[in-house]
């Protein structure tokens, strides 16, 4: 299982701060596509992804137990 975390406007759009998906062995790109379709959010191309708290490429393959965070453009500081 893959746990996916949401923040900021993405958390608002999706209505949850995390979900769990059966997507081990798939890429971040596929995960974003699945979430985009399921939750009708279309701006995920501006969203970065982190796997286990490190930024990750779209092509990164997910492993069981990974925690993925979808990270909208940051605005700290």
């Amino acid at each position: 299982m893959i746990k996916v975390l949401f923040f900021a406007h993405l958390k608002d759009s999706i209505g949850a701060d995390s979900i769990t998906l059966q997507m081990s062995g798939e890429s971040i790109s596929s995960l974003k596509k699945a979430i985009s379709e399921q939750y009708k959010v279309d701006s995920l191309h501006t969203v970065m992804a982190a796997v286990n708290e490190e930024f990750a490429d779209e092509s990164t393959i997910l492993a069981d137990g990974d925690i993925v965070a979808l990270i909208p453009p940051v605005s700290g500081g």
Partner: protein
Amino acid sequence: MNYEITRNAIDIQEVIDKVISRNAGAVTTFIGTVREMTYGKKTLYLYYEAYETMAVKKLEGIGREIKERWPESITAITHRVGKLEITDTAVVIAISTPHRNDAYEANRYAIERIKEIVPIWKKEIWEDGEEWIGNQKETVAYPKGKPEEKEIYD
């Protein structure tokens, strides 16, 4: 604990104390405060959210980048999250170096990197609405899904 995310008011002197050193001749701080007017629009208050564990790791990473570029520097960064009122302190960056030029440059580097790679988000609340600040206009895309490794000073 030179890199912290906190829900409480930041004690600026406490952040500065972390970087004071017998080898330092200069300390610069950057203090980000909540401004009332932004481009003519009146903010009532801000709400900051962070992916806290990763944000601390990314702040530590920025600290390592700074140490590589300015080996004699010492850095401390505290960022506050939660509800912040006008004039409250959102972030304090303190950097000490032997000479002042480096203290300014390194501090500038730190704030720019925070605005690029640290997972913290700001929501502005106005009288007639609210909005998460970031990249609503979608002028920035991350084709590789992550930020590039580069230095930006704007």
